[in-house]
Symmetry: C2
Subunit: 409 residues, 2 copies
């Protein structure tokens, strides 16, 4: 009999966000007519901006014309987009990236999930705790997680780097040897940003241990305070040890349009890799398992990286950061302890009175009709917190924050 991949059985529960949707739908069923206010999923709500929309429409015009129609593009992405992404790193961060080191994808989630495929199944993997579930789940489903310990809320083969309040939610490199390290800054879910000094510790660790860092910078455009690195490549030597993943989802509103990229530098080495480096390996993976991102989305991506597009995206990010400020101040006024939300669209709030994450989740739905994301869904160290997302129309965010202020006392 055909047999399932048993590693999938080791996944502790369903993917977090469908689970929240399920609970919300259940609650809604019991309370028809009540409008739920959503600060849960990090789902953008503001429209695609004019210049980007125009360029995507023009791409469709071109596809409708026999002389300008194109079919398959390169699996790695269209050359003008790869160039535009490389130029972004040079222009805005002073970092040199070769366009051939850029791999365009259908979004950061896919890359974050798939990148593990090019590494050995016996790799030891370190993750931040709490963390975006995809890093953990993709490794568990591929055999690197071991078994889930219900009591601890941890997988027994993963190395967790807990981020605690006293460390401002910035973890330290592992004490033991690991092969792969997943980092995400500005962090989802805590909203924490890492300084260059603290990030340097990870790069040094990776050099020493010959480990590879997978750096998820999907929220880098939300960094507005000085001194924080927008890309890990601002740290010297990072190009020898770090893959960086980024996305058009949260700055251009492409959550549904789907477009992202990964930088896989030529210089990262790995044992047993075809020519000793992993660049060729990821190239092989992408050309074999993927057929390129949608050409319409890619036209949008090129537009988003133009001068006009960057300005429009800055406007979008400003909007969500203003939402984050409203949430942060509103929750503080409600007596909650809050973190993040300054260089990040996520506010990380401590549950009051020792409540557990899902208990506070239930309380917020019941009392304030507001949906947030339980911190424990991001890992054991997220227990006792909830993530509040700044993605929403301004008036809805204000309504939700007011509802919490009025009903949480």
């Amino acid at each position: 009999m055909a047999k399932a991949n048993e590693y999938f059985l080791r996944l502790s529960s369903g993917y977090l966000f469908p689970e929240i949707a399920r609970r919300a739908a259940l609650w809604q069923e019991k309370h028809p007519g009540v409008k739920l206010l959503k600060l849960g999923i990090g789902n953008t709500t503001e429209p695609i901006t004019p210049h980007i929309a125009k360029k995507m429409r023009e791409k469709i015009d071109a596809l409708e014309n026999r002389n300008t129609y194109t079919g398959y593009g390169d699996e790695q992405g269209d050359t003008p987009l790869r160039k535009a992404i490389a130029e972004l790193y040079g222009r805005e961060y002073g970092v040199s990236i070769d366009p051939l080191e850029v791999f365009v994808s259908d979004g950061a989630k896919s890359d974050a999930a798939n990148i593990q495929e090019i590494f050995s199944e016996d790799s030891v993997v370190a993750v931040q705790d709490p963390a975006y579930p995809v890093y953990v789940d993709s490794n568990v489903a591929s055999g690197r997680g071991g078994f889930y310990d219900e009591k601890k809320g941890l997988y027994d083969r993963l190395i967790y780097m807990p981020a605690s309040e006293k460390d401002n939610f910035i973890p330290h490199p592992p004490k033991e040897h690991v092969d792969l390290i997943y980092l995400c800054f500005p962090n989802n879910p805590t909203g924490a940003v890492i300084s260059k000094e603290r990030l340097r510790e990870f790069v040094e660790y990776a050099k020493r241990e010959k480990a590879v860092i997978i750096y998820d910078a999907a929220y880098s455009d939300y960094i507005r305070e000085e001194g924080y690195p927008h890309t890990i490549y601002e740290i010297e030597g990072a190009k020898d040890v770090a893959i960086e993943i980024n996305s058009f989802s949260k700055n251009a509103g492409f959550t549904g349009v789907r477009l992202g990229w990964s930088i896989v530098p030529f210089s990262i080495k790995a044992e047993s890799a075809p020519d000793g480096t992993i660049h060729r390996l990821w190239n092989r993976r992408q050309t074999t398992f993927f057929n390129g991102a949608s050409n319409i989305a890619q036209a949008g991506g090129i537009a988003a990286l133009s001068e006009e597009g960057r300005l429009e995206c800055k406007g979008l990010v400003d909007y969500y950061l203003e939402n984050a400020r409203i949430i942060r101040e509103g929750l503080e006024a409600s007596g909650l302890r809050v973190f993040g939300g300054v260089n990040s669209p996520y506010v990380w709030a401590k549950c009051p009175e020792g409540l557990r994450s899902w208990e506070f989740f239930d309380l917020l739905i019941d009392k304030a009709h507001v949906i947030v994301t339980p911190g424990s869904g991001f890992g054991a160290a997220g227990e006792g917190y909830v993530r509040v997302s700044a993605y929403g129309h301004r008036e809805d965010v204000i309504k939700a924050v007011e509802s919490i202020r009025e009903n949480l006392k």
Copy 2:
């Protein structure tokens, strides 16, 4: 030191199409000014049709409007599209599919490559020979292929189902037990179509052996002769044993727009699967590793399945089928033995005078400046053939066929 996935090292060579592109570029470098005529990659050349283009533009308008903007959709695809796909099966093939059995993806290649992930690493896999390289490569890279035997041109853990001329390029089910069977009809590369009787043999085999069939029907709209199944679900009992993959690439010209789907019926069972079935497993895989196809592409997909869209797509397929007729007849007139190209965009031509596939490839470039695809790139049994693709502007196809007729004598 971080270690690469060693299974990738077992891949016998680069992905076929980049390799062809590399050789063509090399030739072009040595012969500047000579125009190469391309009948190689199955890459669509005719524009997106008016109704579909219009609906995609309208989707962008909607995304540009604050009241109609949407972000993340369901990972499994937008409900209206899943419904439209299910309805297609009912309306055109008399087959009952639940919309929840439909998983929308960014294309058939991704699904064909990723589907193996939900099965156990020790699964025994059968593939047609020759076959679209993705079935083989995705399984080799995931540890199910074993080692490549250079002499035989075969992986030692895969079970090959050779398709030979005397069988009209339709293989027989394996003699031994296997867990997974990849089938593709109309076949890429041979252009062969399978009858209901012959397909029933595979369904019966799968029932008997409790195997799962992965049926790639990406070219089903090219079937124009009566009596051939457009979907494997036309065979009784197939819903208990077969996953079907399909695509908008070759009928709506979405090779660059990227959109496909898989049908994963509720009723397919597998050992160790969460509830004994693989539907939930694929759902978990897609929600964890994927974030939905581009919403603009999905709007195009819905349009393509409307009455107007189906008519437009039929027109596109007609165009390529007429190209295929021209190729078939032209090659025959050049004295070549040809197959396929009637219910398929691919003509499968026997190399003359005992030439090997890459030799004939080189000869066609050198003498006729025409690029085809060497049959051996699709597997050992493809040796001695080339695949000639009907994707091209009519005038280019005519030119290429004439060039072969004039220069091959």
